[in-house]
Symmetry: C2
Amino acid sequence: MTDHLHCDVLIEAGWVVPVEPKGVVLEDHAVAIKDGVIVGILPTFEARQKFSARERIVKQDACLMPGMVNSHTHNPMTLMRGVADDLPLMEWLQGHIWPIEAKIIGPEMVADGVTLSIAEMIRGGTTTCNENYFFPDVQAQVYKQHGFRAMVGLPIIDFPTPWAATDDEYFDRARQVHDQWMGDALISTAFAPHAPYTVKDESFKRIQMYSEQLDIPVHCHVHETQFEVDEAIAQTGMRPLTRLDKLGLVNDRLIAVHMTALDEGDIELCARNGVHVVHCPESNLKLASGFCPVHGLHSRGVNIAIGTDGCASNNDLDMFGETRTAALLAKAVAANASAFGAADALYAATMGGARALSMDDRIGSITVGKQADLVLVDMSSPETQPVHNIVSQLVYAVGRQHVSDVWIAGVRKLKDSVLTEMDAAELSANAKSWRSRIAGIQL
Amino acid sequence: MTDHLHCDVLIEAGWVVPVEPKGVVLEDHAVAIKDGVIVGILPTFEARQKFSARERIVKQDACLMPGMVNSHTHNPMTLMRGVADDLPLMEWLQGHIWPIEAKIIGPEMVADGVTLSIAEMIRGGTTTCNENYFFPDVQAQVYKQHGFRAMVGLPIIDFPTPWAATDDEYFDRARQVHDQWMGDALISTAFAPHAPYTVKDESFKRIQMYSEQLDIPVHCHVHETQFEVDEAIAQTGMRPLTRLDKLGLVNDRLIAVHMTALDEGDIELCARNGVHVVHCPESNLKLASGFCPVHGLHSRGVNIAIGTDGCASNNDLDMFGETRTAALLAKAVAANASAFGAADALYAATMGGARALSMDDRIGSITVGKQADLVLVDMSSPETQPVHNIVSQLVYAVGRQHVSDVWIAGVRKLKDSVLTEMDAAELSANAKSWRSRIAGIQL
């Protein structure tokens, strides 16, 4: 036929879950990709008539869904996975994490940690992350090199670190990294003030001004624990979120991470101002930080995204696991078994993240015109049978090991569960050398 | 050399985690198996001198641990995985689960559900389960046929079901199944009264008497929700656990499942009487049932075991996932990041289960003289690197997909991640036919 449209890849799947509209399931559909962009979503038999594809992928027993957006990570810390667990927050930080970081932090550690994390994320169906660590210049370069979509945080904190010594240096370096990557197709930037208790008013004011000028998000740990809230009230007379509001930061550019210990006023403030909340349920549980009222926020219309947090506290970058935990925990916290259902949780892990990162014009759903950040999930194993409800299955039964294929911007990163561009054995060997190096550090 | 001891299998692993003693890690050790029993645990270089093995397995980058004990399942319900989610308990039961069960329950459904579950359990490193459903005769036969270790519950409930019509019939059939399997190496039995709110005093008294005579455990849902406790107080003037105590059932034969909404008196009662608590964290979260005070029980010396509950509510039989959730959730519930650490959680998933099922003389740890129920976990993938702490890694980073090899009573059930005696594709095909059958039921 001469009226065929050409595309690069045509993926035919037993189920397509586009995420938007929420809860919709398209059976026996195909998605066409051209130049990294989704150009068609239609019943398979129609797709075969309409498109001639350079590559055709047929997976009857699989579900095609958008790539997951891990909305809060500290990926260089993947090298410290499990180095110190089951400890109270301050003992964990002061006795273990900080002394180790003091010895290893730098471009080499950041590059190696990010590289290992990219492999883990791709193998687990994550195609975008929101990074929050030092040396964003190095991070950006590594993400770009591997064709991974990332928002890198530009760190701001009140004390000197290997990344910057003074407030001005933090802002200068932030500006530098921002300018270098502005307009890049895969890498974007956000301000990343560490937390209300480690960043002074003056710095928050500068962040507010620059984030508005540059139109970039502000990625910040907020209300991680009740202790943080109590201390802030004792020291400033205000809840941390109230203080951020007074400083002009509570708006739809704010990516507020953790958000436990919220009262009705906090929830109302978030709802009114379009704040994006990144829920990190496993980190909150493991560090006994508290509970984020996901159902309360969600039912007031607050956008919820999901993040794994860093591997030193979580201890993985498994967005399927994190999404499942989010869906389970929200019900218990709300004492309501209907709260934050499977479709809500899946939305949070994809579109919710895309919206939080201001990327929802490009990613987060399978929509014509969006980037082809796509994941195929195999449903043929005993663990994923029978399939009564594909959305339930994705959230409550599927594990990241069922991810068989991954595309980022139309480039296949995982093929039949094997990384196309990275050598897993080499990565593990490198991780082992870091293991020895870290084991040798005197605490 | 002529002074070699002969063994059937010698497994050499980078790490051996015997679980007992708790927290111990043996690096570069080997475990010798003869006639299904563990006959040696020693450094690999010594093992090679001491034993001549028919089969030698060398996995440097793997950890050998005891098989997991799933201490509460309803495995026939695996055929209903995801059939109804995100619903309040009563709507879920009355509007979906019970009407579907009414149409499909019977020997065929039980056999097919159990068979599918055995595949899932083996692939995920579980070697024993504590089953709780109708038709224990069929269950026992299927578990035995596949060489899987199981305790089957002998159901007792106040109303007629396809399994039995009257109280006497329930007890007669229970006795029949018990007598048939008494002394079997793999199959054992327990009384399984459904719950305090569905079993009358008279039946509990008979269970108490017979369980003492036969020396078998009593496996019962107890305190699943605050509602159950409140209703019991309204109707009987007593908390359910208090009533069971008055009936003589609160002792070290009681396997009490769920155990949310416990007060100090309940905890004290359990501690004093050696009750075994089966914690099902994911089911409790998903059905918004409440929180089991794991740290409170554990710190008072109560034995904790872990169960997945049935796939209609969980929706999987993933003991690695469940153990991880248990370890995470206990900290948040206790507001203590040191509560129920990795070694405690791993103990609960193995030895804790073995003790609950009165099988700790045979399974639950890697101990000379115990059955060779063993699991090898591969640590070479990016998700499980680096390995700073192997016990942390097993609980917080490993997923069931990292299980490469499984033995039950010395018989290899999984070899390099492939089932040795079951056809996964055939099982999936059968599950699909159940999917169609269930989809056709008018609710």
